[in-house]
């Protein structure tokens, strides 16, 4: 299973490296979102600074949606679904591989967004242990839930509108948790943030298990 996962992750990431869609389109989109928030929230009034953690994670969520949509459109475009199914790879491995690939892309995105926020919103980054762990856990949550619901929506013409409808309500706790954790880290009270990391870990675990078990049946007729 792990071997298959690494195979699939490697394939997805190599694909991305060659096409560079994430780099050329999704990252600029994310930065654009940050800029738009600055237009909407007027930097002079202090709203932007106060809302920075939330805005950061909203930008991550929207960009993550794009990355997930891309991850599944790549498969559908060349009829790869059937190839994937017939390849004999362990479905659980395929799931974990996709989660891994999306996670890597998301992590790169999040680092770049953090730089963006530090520069554009003059955020002083601190509370590093909590920040880093939050980022890792939240990324896992988004990638795991996103891949599971992604395959539920896969192969359908309505995928592009269905996936956000399914995923965003589900990820609301992740938005709440990661924002609160970031607020705690940046505000110098990390002890308030760790419970949120705990909640998100439960979430991540739930979706990894659901994905590992459910990917097989779902892939059968996708």
């Amino acid at each position: 299973m792990i071997h298959d996962a690494l195979l699939v992750a490697g394939k997805d990431l190599r694909l991305e490296l060659r096409s560079r869609v994430a780099l050329n389109q999704i990252v600029p989109f994310a930065l654009l979102v940050l800029v738009l928030f600055a237009f909407a929230l007027d930097p002079d009034r202090g709203l932007l600074e106060a809302a920075t953690p939330g805005l950061y994670w909203v930008a991550v969520l929207f960009s993550g949606l794009l990355a997930l949509q891309r991850s599944f459109s790549v498969e559908a475009a060349d009829g790869n679904h059937d190839a994937l199914r017939l390849s004999g790879l362990d479905p659980a491995g395929i799931f974990l591989g996709k989660v891994l690939a999306v996670s890597v892309q998301l992590l790169v995105l999040e680092v770049l967004l953090a730089v963006g926020v530090a520069v554009l919103y003059s955020t002083h980054l601190g509370g590093w242990p909590l920040l880093l762990v939050t980022v890792v856990v939240a990324t896992t949550c988004i990638a795991a839930a996103g891949t599971l619901y992604g395959v539920v929506a896969a192969g359908l013409r309505v995928r592009e509108t269905l996936l956000p409808l399914l995923l965003l309500p589900v990820l609301a706790p992740v938005l709440i948790g990661s924002t609160r954790a970031f607020e705690a880290a940046l505000g110098g009270t990390p002890s308030e943030g760790w419970p949120w990391v705990g909640l998100m870990s439960v979430f991540a675990l739930l979706y990894i298990v659901a994905g590992v078990l459910g990917f097989g049946p779902l892939l059968e007729e996708a």
């Binding site: 599971l148 709440i176 949120w196």
Partner: protein, 266 residues
């Protein structure tokens, strides 16, 4: 002989009254009457016989529908998850349709909960909406249910729809639990808990308690009645979809049969 011929010509007509002509039955008729009686009694007690509340005044009369609706909305959600699990485990269409019907009715009840909550909030808090834990969680419940319903209504064949919807459905209850927990933490850690207290005070008693109890009975009966009808309707919808497929298969076979006969006829 003539009688046989007469009967023979009558036999050509479709036996339109051999099966039920609607989703109703003796059982649902009885249940429906009980529901109406219960609702009427509820209205009597809630609106006339019970006193107004010392804090909220007459607005408490909205609570007698609001609270049961909320409870049944979450119950319907739970049924949807149960049905999804059973479908995935036993491949039983019955359970999947129970899940689907429950989810749709739960969505209606959730909307009712939200609307009554908002209408109650205006005279009590002065605003239609507050981001308190309960209302926010209920809004999230509605969104989650709508997602499930969207998957079940996809333009695809039944087995695809049912399986995908069941995966979404099975995760409904875990999602609701996690959402409620995160929203509760979020709204109570930095808020004074007394600021947005529950609509019903801790000392509800007497006629008010009885009215609430009636609310649960009446709305509960309504849920059950709606569920039976909606389930049967869903069943009919699937039959029609299947009919369409069966008809195409039969047409294909007829074509093949004709060709065979044509070639084989001496």
């Amino acid at each position: 002989m003539t009688t046989q011929i007469a009967r023979g010509s009558k036999g050509v007509e479709p036996a339109a009254d051999a099966g039920p002509t609607s989703t109703g039955s003796r059982g649902t008729l009885i249940l429906g009457i009980l529901t109406l009686v219960a609702l009427g009694t509820l209205a009597l007690f809630a609106l006339v016989l019970s006193p107004d509340d010392s804090n909220q005044g007459d607005a408490v009369r909205i609570m007698y529908i609001h609270v049961p609706s909320a409870t049944l909305a979450y119950t319907g959600c739970g049924l949807a998850t149960l049905g999804s699990i059973m479908y995935l485990w036993r491949k039983s269409q019955w359970w999947d349709l129970v899940a689907y019907a429950s989810a749709e009715i739960a969505a209606v009840f959730t909307a009712v909960t939200l609307v009554t909550g908002m209408i109650w909030g205006r005279p009590t808090w002065g605003v239609y909406w507050v981001w308190d834990a309960r209302l926010t969680s209920t809004a999230m419940l509605l969104l989650l249910l709508l997602g499930y319903l969207a998957v079940h209504r996809l333009p695809a064949e039944y087995s695809v729809r049912a399986k995908r919807a069941s995966i979404v459905g099975l995760l409904l209850v875990p999602n609701v639990i996690i959402v409620r927990q995160s929203v509760n933490w979020w709204r109570t850690l930095h808020q004074k808990p007394t600021l947005f207290s529950n609509g019903l005070g801790s000392k509800i008693e007497g006629l008010m308690l009885f009215s609430l109890f009636l609310g649960f009975v009446a709305i509960g009966l309504l849920f059950a009645w709606l569920l039976i009808h909606r389930f049967r309707l869903a069943w009919l919808e699937e039959q029609i979809a299947e009919e369409g497929i069966d008809a195409s298969i039969a047409a294909r076979r007829a074509e093949a049969g004709d060709i065979g006969r044509w070639e084989g006829t001496p």
